[in-house]
Symmetry: C3
Subunit: 130 residues, 3 copies
């Protein structure tokens, strides 16, 4: 298992990880296969979305904040109930194909870690099957 370590700086934030995942794929030297990503946290998620216009990141976090506000009538007492809910709506795992030792992504796609309750030290776990 490979581990990407990251530090988030805000409460809600999307951090692009595409190159760091690609570097692991190249190091592991599985020429063709599937790269699996897994976030071991319950208040964060991982998504693939547009990697060109940064306003897309803003719209994703802003719309999620409107649908699932930070403060509402939640039972969980730690002030991060919204982050747990967002984590399960976005999901904490995904896969990307590998061909010729490279991630297969669409033209506009990038991989984003979605911080929901930062700032924190976080990890993304990676495993590759050939």
């Amino acid at each position: 298992m490979e581990i990407i370590e990251l530090k988030t700086t805000r409460r809600v934030e999307l951090i692009e990880l595409t190159n760091r995942v690609q570097q692991i794929v190249q190091r592991v030297k599985v020429k063709n296969g599937v790269c699996f990503l897994f976030v071991p946290h319950t208040t964060a998620g991982i998504i693939i979305n547009e990697n060109a216009d940064p306003s897309v990141k803003h719209d994703i976090s802003d719309t999620l904040n409107k649908l699932i506000p930070h403060s509402a009538d939640y039972a969980h007492g730690e002030g991060n109930a919204d982050s747990h809910i967002k984590s399960s709506i976005l999901g904490n795992c995904l896969h990307i194909f590998i061909e010729e030792n490279r991630l297969c992504l669409g033209k506009w796609q990038g991989v984003f870690f979605v911080e929901g309750d930062g700032p924190r030290k976080r990890q993304v776990w990676i495993k590759i099957l050939g």
Copy 2:
């Protein structure tokens, strides 16, 4: 393929399955690999979230019920249109890494079956690749 059988008791409910998945991983004896989970139902989902404070489960189902109410102006006539929508928002499949014959989960993570239209008899299907 391995099958977990479960019985839900309420219309909307999160049921923790972590130990049952772990037992299958130990029985199958794949030391290192990826465990894939799949829910073969269209009104249920599967997520990974906090396994410590049970109020997180309550907040997830309560917030989903507010965003996607049981009764609204739906076309589907069986009274469970909301459950179909929730199923696709949460997702019906996920993966967990296996190392040394154990599921790799973060400190606070557990696996939850999300019933959306119970009570019913349900299944979770599991396959492991090494």
Copy 3:
């Protein structure tokens, strides 16, 4: 990697792909394994849901449109911010088990490509591990 090519005809639309995925599984001749699907677009998604009553498709797209409207106070200027957000809420990848050269799906399940910003030419990428 196998590719399904499709043409969507409306802005938001669910297109059933179950048989096309099954045809690929049969051609690839992996008897037992896991079939991975991946959407290489940032304004579309892929889900598994009910394949019997077409009103379920309508309720899914209609409810998503209500929660995440086409026009709102978005930063992204291309008129498809909602489609990017929906893509990450539904997800762009999933897996289905294969046994005896057939997709393992529940009785009511089908695979649906979810167009969020059509009409467009789209692809679904498929890889199978045995």
